[in-house]
Symmetry: D2
């Protein structure tokens, strides 16, 4: 099944529908079943001590899965997260961007499932893992549940 | 087992250690095994259309569990989230604060487990549920893993 | 929204469609949004030392959520588990039945979400918590995805 | 960090401590951070229609993570599952063994985290994914919490 958008089109669309996240997230690579997304670390992502906050890592995992699903369903901003689970395994490095490697494990008629590994740039061991389920609205019905 | 801080002391301590979240979160009620925490909705919590973002709901669930654990272990800012799972079940109401009802299910020597229901103020059906596990550092060792 | 089956009809239906679990599980109480289900502990549920195995607790949580969904959708055996998360918090007591208290948090057109607390009979503190998501097949299409 | 047991020693130890699962599970490959474990499908694993039950897939995921942890900590049967999350994505094929590919993502002083993909032998798309957290007892204290 083909991608409906390439990395540049995807970024453009994300910028349109989520103006608030512009300049936080960047698509670094995209294929049919995988996306690499960067979180550009800013002060608002940090906890005292310089470590990246849990909600910021959640936002990165969520955004990478959302972008992966959009790349497959095309320009519909209506896919919604229904479930997520995360393990926070190590402290992220200070002052370094985070990279999420998101794999699309299932792309069904109504549900998509991704798993995500998050690394601090330059470190081998993952700082967090996540899985995300997205609900995909029926194509003919523009109103989500 | 007694609370180490009451609601006012807890809020004061949270404001000290997380100056960034000040004025976002408020402890509304606190007992030995339960805490009620409000998220005061601001523009930065919203998605286009006025609904509260997933990361904002994650932050509320996380903060309520963190506060519950702190209330029991006392003034140590070092408890860290190790695991979380969330179901996003309904759209939050527009322009209305969210309330998290967090129950402490386990308070062990090294792990604490909470479950959390999140409601839009004024609505009966929960918009999200979560469970959070916190790792509690040994009392004599002030440096977490 | 009314129940489509009462506790006795539900047990009869479960016995029909899952002959393998007959005499393991019993519906102890049922209302529109809650079910109480017992696991009658047998040798096959035990680990060395007499504690109940993780897969047995998973099976109890899963069965209670399945029964709750069936009680609402009626005699369709096709609802399937899509997601689950569990925390194993304490050792179950030896030689004692387990009881699952399952609440229906969401009953949507295509997804149902339950949360479950599991206790050893006679003990106050929960041994495990779980959340389960079930996918509900469209009424007019008897073949699940 | 080296393995404390090879695949044969691991199987022997599992057979000793879990006589009930003997002949159900087999270690197919083992390295420092990965294990491949087979579930030999038997009648007791099946649902009506021939598909593998959820609790059987849970048991496979749990057993693979337990074996991975044991291979690293050595002959201690006391590591316990504290948390698990699973997505059931596709129906397993009928009459075919399942294979779990389990990766060790974190091996800390007190917690180990694994992620697991489960396939029907001969099919490319995973039928389920899971993550498991194990609590590792301190070496000097043979009694778990």
């Amino acid at each position: 099944m083909a991608l409906q958008m390439d990395a540049a089109e995807l970024m453009e669309f994300l910028n349109e529908v989520f103006p608030q996240v512009r300049e936080e997230f960047a698509v670094e690579a995209l294929s049919e079943n995988e996306i690499l997304m960067r979180l550009r670390i800013q002060d608002k992502h940090l906890r005292p001590g310089g470590t990246v906050s849990g909600p910021s890592m959640f936002a990165l995992a969520d955004c990478s899965a959302y972008a992966m699903v959009l790349a497959r369903i095309g320009r519909q901003a209506l896919a919604v997260t229904t479930n997520c689970s995360m393990d926070f395994m190590r402290k992220p490095a200070s002052g370094v961007d985070l990279m999420a490697n998101c794999r699309l494990l299932k792309f069904g008629r109504s549900l998509a499932v991704c798993d995500i590994l998050i690394h601090s740039i330059g470190q081998e061991a993952a700082v967090a893992r996540a899985n995300m389920t997205y609900s995909i609205p029926p194509a003919r019905d523009p109103k989500p549940e």
